[in-house]
């Protein structure tokens, strides 16, 4: 199973990937990064911070524009990809393996995922 078959996406271009330990990895879709172009700046929250679904939790800038990144589901940050903050251009190569943003412990209801889209549906929606 490829990674895009395992993720769920928001219409605002974030994805979540469920890990074996019950945490979720949160990132940006390849489509989003392609639209942004050269990524030059990334700001991520600190571990321990909690966010509700829909909250802006991170900021990203490409040469072209600045964008906010929103929580696909509610959760507490358990891990932050600090290497990515150092070299945000990695996102242009890989958004799933090296380019993940944060890991979270979900704090909301499972129904929060009802409006998330499978990757293929997401692609259809945005393209």
């Amino acid at each position: 199973m490829s990674i895009t078959e395992k993720i769920l996406c928001t219409k605002t271009h974030e994805y979540i990937l469920k890990n074996d330990d019950g945490t979720y990895t949160v990132g940006l879709t390849d489509y989003a990064v392609e639209q942004l172009g050269d990524i030059v700046f990334l700001e991520l929250p600190e571990s321990g911070t909690t966010f509700a679904k829909g909250d802006s939790f991170a900021a990203i800038e490409s040469v072209k524009a600045a964008s906010e990144i929103y929580m696909p589901i509610s959760g507490e940050i358990t891990d932050v990809n600090t290497a990515l903050v150092e070299s945000p251009e990695t996102l242009n190569e890989d958004v799933y393996e090296k380019g993940w943003l944060v890991k979270i412990n979900p704090t909301g209801d499972a129904s929060e995922q009802d409006d998330l889209l499978e990757y293929s549906d997401y692609k259809e929606e945005v393209e």
């Binding site: 172009g37 050269d38 900021a59 800038e61 040469v63 524009a65």
Partner: protein, 367 residues
Amino acid sequence: MTKETFLHDKHIALGAKMVDFAGWHMPVQYTTIVEEHNTVREAVGLFDVSHMGEVFVSGKESLAFLQSIVPQDISKLEYEKAVYCQLPNKKGGLIDDLIIYKIGINSYLIICNASRIDEDVNWMSLNSNGYDVKIDNQSHNYSLLAVQGPKADELLRTMGLSTHQDSFTIKPAKILDYNILVSRTGYTGEDGYELLVENNIAPALWDKVLEYGKPFGIKPIGLGARDTLRLEAALHLYGNDLDEDTTPVEAGLSWSLAKDKKEDYNGKEVIMAQLANGGNKKLVGIKMLDKNIARHGYEVYFNGEKVGIVTSGCISPVLGCNIALAYVKNISDISTGSVVQVMIREKLHDAEVVKKPFINKRNKIRN
């Protein structure tokens, strides 16, 4: 309805990412903005700027008419030369900035911003009452290709451009088999040319420039790199850094103004008073001291007080830091070397006021 230039199919075929800009469907990038930016700084790039406006002004009183609408002294403009001008309203605020070319006796070409063609033509028509002058908007009939970069001259030589042309001159020339109005101007801070042609010639000329440019490392360049290139050179973008509430003095364009022009022109009183006493605000260049980028509309603070607003900002691929233009209160405390703060995502980030342009013409780092 978005408009397309005669090179639209070329952009699509080259795989450009397209965006709407000033009512036009234009390429923002073909590869990446940074790669395209560096190509223009190091070699040569080709731009489609056909969206820009071409307005011809002719007639017995065209000089007197132009003298009445721009703060520059057009009587000093020689045949086949160009001058950077502004089009002020009655209060000295800018309706547009332009390049005026003298292309004949009583005959001038004005190249203006795509987003302002209608406003410019309306304003000129309104102001032409009583003058024996013809204002002919030919924007829809012309395409404009910009060839920019240190290798632009050499490239055009291999294509058959035979006569030498100084910067800010315009001459009709035959390149390959095409009749072209060749202008040694641009909007990148690099040496380069702008080639004005009739629409039907544009697609073939585009292909030829790319073909002949191959040995020089030419690449097509989108509007994304056009923006970062012009900002490194601290060239103003209308709508960002210039508007109807900003005078040329405030915009740091005093160098371009005629100081002793006798004729009256729109906004003269305000502009001359500001030239003597300074404007209400001033445009400064700033360099971010961290990795954040100051974008259009962000607030600027000095000693805890809000003093202004960022009008353009981006990364500088040449300098490796983030740069911006901002309007701040016209106080002497804010000058080169001062540290100001930019509000980015509800936090203040330090930036240093630096000299403009951010880089000088020969690519050497100034700051």
